[in-house]
Homo-oligomer: 330 residues x 2
C-alpha cells in the first residue's frame, strides 16, 4: 500500500507571464529559452519593462505534481512559500488541484518566489526567477511519512540553486530507498546542468536517482557532446531509466538495452512552451506508477505536454484524465 | 487637439479565473452569466472551493481601456486600487498596455478589488466580485484635464454599485460636455440594469450619456420587454447612438433612423466569454474616435470581442492593431 503515486519537490514559484519580441530579450540580456536567476533589484527593473501579464502558479516540480493530480494520480509536494499574497495563491492552486501540500510557509521575508516569463512569438519562454522564500527549503521540510509512502519521489535539478535544498533531497532519497521506493529527477535546464554537472552525474551513478528526465539540450549539456545518440548511450549506462524529450520530434525512453521512441502529438498552434517538460514528466510518471508500458508512459507524457503548449501558462486547464480517456490512452 | 481618444472610468479589479462545472454554480448559489457582488467572507469561502486559478487584471472599463490602447488608440483610466500586491499588479498591467493611469491608490484597507470568475464548459463566465478599494472612488478622483482632453469619456454601469462613483461620473459628464466632448456608458449586466434602471434611463434621456453599449439581455432588461426589436426602437429614441451586441449574431448599431447590422467573426473555439462586451466597446470606440463609419466601428468591435473569447482572461494577448490590419480593417 502506498499513500501517493508521486511526491514532487521543487521551487514553489508564481509565474508572471507576458509576451515580448526577440529584441526585448536581447536588450535586457535575457538568455532565451533558459531559466535566468535574478535578484530583487533586477526583478523590479524587469517588471517595470514588462508588458501586461497574467499570474499563474508554476515551478517545475509543482507543475508536475499538478499534472499528475489532473490525471487522477495521487500527488504530494514539498516547496517553500512565504505567508504573503503570492504564497496564498500558490497554496490555493496546488491544493485545489488535489495535491497534498503541507510545507510550513515562511513567516516574513524573503517573499514568495516569482518568475517573470517572457514568451516570444515562436512560443519559446525565457524565465527570470527570483527565488525568494525557496532559499529556505531544507531537510527540516522533509515529511518522512510522505516520502516513504510514495511510489516515486521526484525533484527538479533547479533545487541545486538554493543553498540547502540539496540536503533535503539527499534525505528524501534516503527515506525513499529505505522504503524500497524510487527516486527521479529532471535535469531542468542546460545551464543548470552546466552549473551542477558533476553533482548530477554523481546522483545518477551513485543510484541516488533511478529515473532521469531531460530534454535534448540538457542531455547534451550533461555529457558535453553535440551527438544526441552518444548522449543517449551514456545516459543508458548511467541510470536505470531515462526519458528524453525532443520537442516536436517526440521523446526517446531508454532502460538498459531497451529503447522506446514516442511521437509528439499534433498541435493546432504553439502558444507557450512553459511547462512542456514538467507535463511530460507528469504524464510519464502517472503512467509509470500505474504500471503502464514505457510506450504508454511516453504517450501520456506527450499528450500532457502537447496540451500545455497550446495555452498560456504552465498547467493545462483541461482535466488530463478526461483528455487521456478521449485519446484512448486510459 | 485632444490628448486622449477615450477616457475610461470603472471598477479596478483583478480577475481570479478558474473553470468549473454547472453543478458548482448551482451548489454555490452563483447566478450564471452575471456579476454577483460578494463580501469578504463569501470571497474567502468561494476561494476555498475554487479550483486552480490564474490571475489577470480585469474590470470592465479597464479592459476597454486596455483594448483601445492595443489598437493604438490613446486611452486613460480612472479607477481605485489599494497599495497592496494586487493593486501593484493592476497598475503595472494597465500602464504596461500604454494606458495613462494616475488615480491615487488607497492606503490600507479595503484591499484591491478582485472578482472570482468561474468559467463553465460552455465558455460562459459567472463573476463574483468583492469591490474592495473601489468603494472609495469619488469626485476627488476626477482629473478634469484628462476628461476635457478626451474625445469620449466612457464608464461602466457597474459604477452605480459603489457609493460615490456616480458622483464622479456626473462630474466627468459636466467637464466632458463643457469641453464639447461626448459621454458613453455600458449597461454592464442585466441585473445591474435591474438595480439602476431608472437612473440609467435618466442618464440617457437627460443626454448625460450620448453613446450607450449594451448586450441584448441588458437592453431587454432596461425596457422590461422580451422583444429585441421593441427594445431597439426604444433605445433609438432615448439616446443618440447605441451599439447592441448579440453574441454569435453580431451587433446592431442604431443612430436616429439609421440601423447598421454587423456580423460576429468566425471563431475556432469558444473558451471564455470574459471581456467580450468590454472588447467590443474598445474596438467600436477606437473606430469611432478615429472617424470611421459605424459599420467599421462595429467590425472592429466584433474582431476584438471574437479574439478575447478564444482565450482565458479578459484582455486579448494579441496586438489588436496588427490583428485589425491583417483583417483588412485598418
Amino acid at each position: 500500500m502506498t499513500d501517493y503515486d508521486v511526491l514532487c519537490v521543487g521551487n514553489a514559484i508564481v509565474d508572471i507571464i507576458a509576451q515580448c519580441d526577440e529584441a526585448f530579450l536581447k536588450d535586457h540580456g535575457i538568455i532565451k529559452g533558459a531559466m535566468n536567476l535574478i535578484d530583487v533589484e533586477r526583478a523590479e527593473l524587469l517588471y517595470g519593462h514588462m508588458g501586461p501579464a497574467i499570474e499563474a502558479s508554476g515551478g517545475s516540480a509543482g507543475n508536475t505534481a499538478a499534472g499528475i493530480a489532473s490525471f487522477g494520480g495521487r500527488a504530494a509536494f514539498f516547496g517553500k512559500v512565504s505567508k504573503d499574497h503570492l504564497g496564498g495563491i500558490y497554496t490555493h492552486d496546488i491544493r485545489a488541484q488535489g495535491v497534498a501540500f503541507d510545507t510550513v510557509p515562511l513567516e516574513g521575508n524573503p517573499p514568495t518566489a516569482r518568475s517573470m516569463i517572457f514568451v516570444t512569438p515562436d512560443g519559446e519562454r525565457s524565465m527570470n526567477t527570483y527565488l525568494g522564500a525557496c532559499v529556505e527549503l531544507g531537510p527540516e521540510d522533509v515529511e518522512a511519512d510522505k516520502v516513504r509512502g510514495a511510489k516515486v519521489s521526484y525533484f527538479e535539478g533547479y533545487l541545486w540553486d538554493p543553498p540547502r535544498a540539496k540536503e533535503a533531497i539527499r534525505l528524501v532519497a534516503q527515506h525513499a530507498h529505505e522504503a524500497g521506493r524510487q527516486m527521479s529527477m529532471t535535469l531542468s535546464d542546460p545551464f543548470c546542468v552546466d552549473r551542477y554537472r558533476g553533482e548530477f552525474l554523481e546522483l545518477m551513478r551513485s543510484r541516488t536517482v533511478d529515473i532521469v528526465f531531460a530534454n535534448e539540450s540538457e542531455l547534451k549539456s550533461l555529457y558535453q557532446t553535440e551527438s544526441f545518440e552518444q548522449a543517449l548511450d551514456l545516459v543508458r549506462a548511467d541510470c536505470r531509466l531515462a526519458a528524453v524529450t525532443r520537442s516536436e520530434l517526440g521523446s526517446v525512453i531508454v532502460r538498459g538495452e531497451e529503447t522506446v521512441r514516442v511521437d509528439a502529438i499534433d498541435i493546432a498552434e504553439l502558444v507557450d512552451t512553459t511547462g512542456a517538460g514538467d507535463l511530460y514528466a507528469a504524464g510519464f510518471l502517472f503512467g509509470y506508477t500505474s504500471g503502464r508500458s514505457l510506450e504508454d508512459c511516453g504517450r501520456l507524457g506527450s499528450l500532457a505536454a502537447g496540451l500545455v503548449i497550446q495555452q498560456i501558462g504552465p498547467r493545462p486547464r483541461q482535466n488530463l484524465r478526461q483528455e487521456a480517456e478521449q485519446a484512448g490512452l486510459l
